[in-house]
């Protein structure tokens, strides 16, 4: 038994080396050689349901073509995936594999010893996804996860008819964006729709601004709480955000309505035949959250990249679902390895609603122009950083009504109160980092 395990491990190692060797070729990072010898049942959990579940099951079917004797059972955890997994880990019965969106939760599981190291897959992961994305899945130097389904948050969506009515073009710099907003207002069109909701859409906006005004290095330091939230760089970024939140009539329905709008509703206000605002600042998943979207892509709604601020270099803030391994088995390793390949990603990419951070995915496989643009923006980003609030202890960066989400809600409400808000952020961050 032990010998056989070693044999598999060395086979995996050899494959990884082979993959690393041929990396950078046009044909991608090397596929997985199938085998009928690998057998077993594995369970997989993720949030995907509905159309996403069907797409992921198509990926499983692709895996089964190579490994016909492995049965993969997928269960959707829906929005309650985090609690479900925490409870399952507490009870000692987690699934074999899961895709988790919060790196904070992944490191929590890793520290509890619930996760298996996937260091053996690291060369493949780096080859396909690049160092920056690979490092997001590492905890204290050990690889535990890799980003399979990404989302590009450096995007702003707009209603094409509104832009045409006001005679404006998608801006490339922050100053242009402000100019566009004031022209829209002169035309009687509300510039922004914001779904403050529980606050995370505003943390995303902050992260996009901060990585541009303070730079990626300080972004990393702030994410690890090595510099305080009262730092001048945070205040500067909030000052830039005042351009949007400073005037209530910049927002659809005014500030008080924005505070009660959830994220899907904020997108629906723009993706409409009688839009209530021209732009919505939200990640690349926007078109997917509107039910009965009446507009066509490109001609009805379109997207532009988050503008550069004072000459900043392009940078992408993203997030996404990372696969982790709770129980080690031959079959689980084979499946995880398959998921790192461009072939696995291309199956879903062709079906739509998917951005792969895998650099070796052929852009032509994306089904439409817009998803091709946002996905390649993600995969080819020279500067990529994971969503900062997701990297925080969840009490500070991921809980409705607490920590950052609450403070950014407060900021929308009182955009002039920067000093008090940054102090509150700092004291909550200190508390959360001490408790985690």
């Amino acid at each position: 038994m032990r010998k056989r395990w070693l044999a598999v491990a060395s086979l995996v190692g050899a494959l990884a080396l082979a993959a690393a060797g041929c990396g950078g070729d046009d044909d991608g990072g090397g596929g997985v050689e199938g085998s009928e010898d690998v057998t077993g049942n594995i369970s997989v959990m993720a949030i995907w349901s509905g159309a996403e579940q069907e797409s992921f099951e198509a990926v499983i079917a692709g895996f089964n073509e190579l490994f016909p004797n492995v049965t993969v059972k997928y269960t959707s955890g829906g929005d309650n995936l985090g609690p479900l997994l925490s409870t399952a880990v507490q009870g000692g019965n987690p699934p074999d594999i899961a895709a988790i969106a919060q790196p904070g939760l992944i490191s929590q599981f890793a520290e509890q010893g619930a996760l298996q190291s996937i260091d053996d897959l690291r060369p493949e992961i780096v080859d396909n996804f690049g160092e920056a994305v690979a490092d997001v899945g590492a905890v204290d130097g050990t690889q535990y996860a890799f980003l399979f389904k990404g989302s590009n948050k450096a995007t702003i969506w707009y209603n094409v008819a509104d832009f045409e009515e006001a005679g404006v073009d998608p801006p490339e710099t922050w100053d242009d964006l402000s100019e566009v907003a004031s022209t829209l207002k002169a035309a009687g069109i509300t510039p922004y729709s914001v779904g403050v909701d529980v606050g995370w859409p505003i943390t995303d906006l902050f992260e996009n601004v901060y990585i541009r005004t303070a730079g990626p290095e300080m972004y990393d330091q702030l994410a690890k709480h090595e510099i305080p939230w009262t730092d001048q760089s945070v205040k500067d970024a909030l000052t830039v955000m005042q351009d949007i939140f400073g005037e209530s009539d910049n927002l659809a329905g005014g500030t008080s309505a924005a505070l009660q709008t959830d994220m899907p509703a904020s997108v629906a206000k723009v993706f409409s035949n009688s839009p209530q605002a021209a732009m919505v600042i939200i990640g690349d998943f926007a078109p997917g959250v509107v039910t009965d979207n009446p507009l066509e892509p490109v001609t009805g709604y379109n997207v532009f990249t988050f503008p550069s601020i004072e000459g900043s270099d392009p940078a992408v803030v993203g997030s996404g679902d990372q696969f982790v391994n709770f129980k080690q088995s031959e079959a689980a390793t084979a499946f995880l390895e398959y998921l790192t390949t461009p072939e696995a990603a291309e199956i879903w990419a062709a079906r739509g609603g998917f951005s792969s951070p895998n650099k070796n995915v052929d852009p032509e496989t994306y089904s439409d122009e817009i998803s091709r643009a946002t996905a390649t923006g993600l995969a080819e980003a020279e500067v990529f950083r994971f969503d900062m609030s997701d990297l925080q202890p969840s009490a500070f960066g991921g809980t409705p009504g607490q920590g950052l989400w609450k403070e950014f809600t407060d900021f929308v409400q009182n955009p002039d109160d920067i000093d008090a808000i940054t102090q509150q952020m700092e004291s909550d961050a200190t508390k959360a980092f001490a408790n985690s």
Partner: protein, 447 residues
Amino acid sequence: MSESATTVEAPSGGLPPTGDEPGFFTKYGVTIVFLAPALALLGVWVVYPTISTIVRSFYDRSGDDFIGIDNYRRLFSDDTLVRAITNNFLWLLVVPFFVTAVGLVFAVLLERIRFSVAFKVVVFMPMAISLFAAGVIWRLMYEKDPSRGTVNAAIGVAHDAVSPSGALASALPSTEAVQGGTAGGLVLDEDLGPGDVARIGLTGIRASDVPDDAVQAVVPEALAGGITGVVWRDFKPGGGTPGELEPEEVGLPGVTVELRDASGRSALDTTTEPDGTFAFEDVAPGTYRAAIGAKSFQKSFAGISWLDERLITPAIMMAYIWVWAGFSMVVIAAGLAAIPRDLLEAARTDGASEWQVFRRVTVPLLAPVLSVVFVTMLIYVLKVFDIVIAIAPGSVQDDANVIALAMWRTSFGGVNDFGLGAAIAVFLFLLVIPILALNIRRFRSEV
């Protein structure tokens, strides 16, 4: 449990002794067989989880380290949790009282009208909906935008009937030449005398909101002995040059322009033409200002923010009372039907007014029923959860927090601190115990 024990024991005490002491199994066998399924279920689903929750509450987040009463200390020092506890006490003070009172009023009033059954069905209907569904309904009804939220739409109809919205509700000055907030109207900051031409440029007006008869704006010719001018939409695609009347920029017809004299009083007024022009003929010499009155800028009703941090808790309470009033009414009506009519008649014969009959006879006779409703509501309100999570938008969940919601959010809603969550659950359990004890004692005394 005690009841079944007595029923088994009673015959053995009542029968004459048979000589042999019955064995343990013969004595309790039947009891055990009948109790076993219930005891097993209780053990698995109630006793074990309760004990394990109490134990868990003394351990930290990971469950590895014993931390004594630290979790309970955090319960009373963490802002969010303290907020939840205060809110829950507010619920205790307000909701059971109002549910009982509203139910009583409905029960008493409905007793006297025809078709009372139909009304009772309507009032009772919300009980047929789950609290969560009721929450979703009210969440939609409370929407701020009057075109989406029923509550604000109703208020909006009344509001707009009193002060209708103006033709230029969203208009803004295009340059600094036009001054003033929309509250006092807009004034052209330029002294005018007979023979002058006023240009009032406005922006912020949606192209689709411009009246259909509007045509390209023109600057009118000066009029000897009079003041002319133009009010126009100072915008063309791309923005144009503010303050300059350009091609593609249309006049704003039907706007009432005032001519204010030196003291600021409105001396004359007129209405603009399709090309935006207006003219005051035969103006007495002097200096004037051209202005558009505040009425034109009257905004339509924007809606009350029921779901903001100040109103959220009362708003949820209102929905909760709506749901439970039916239950309260039905129970109280049943009690009312059992009141001996002759007592009421006697009081009326003795010359008591209806109010006195209600206050001095009906209510005291109903006291046991009222207290059942009240105590039941106390228990339900202590553990209120689903309606709060359904109505409160994420941004105000903290302000609407209650103990049960805080427990769920702490354990499962992102914090993932099962230790603290368990401590909150134990605290809630301790709060419910006295009320449960009270209820059990009352049931006993009634039996």
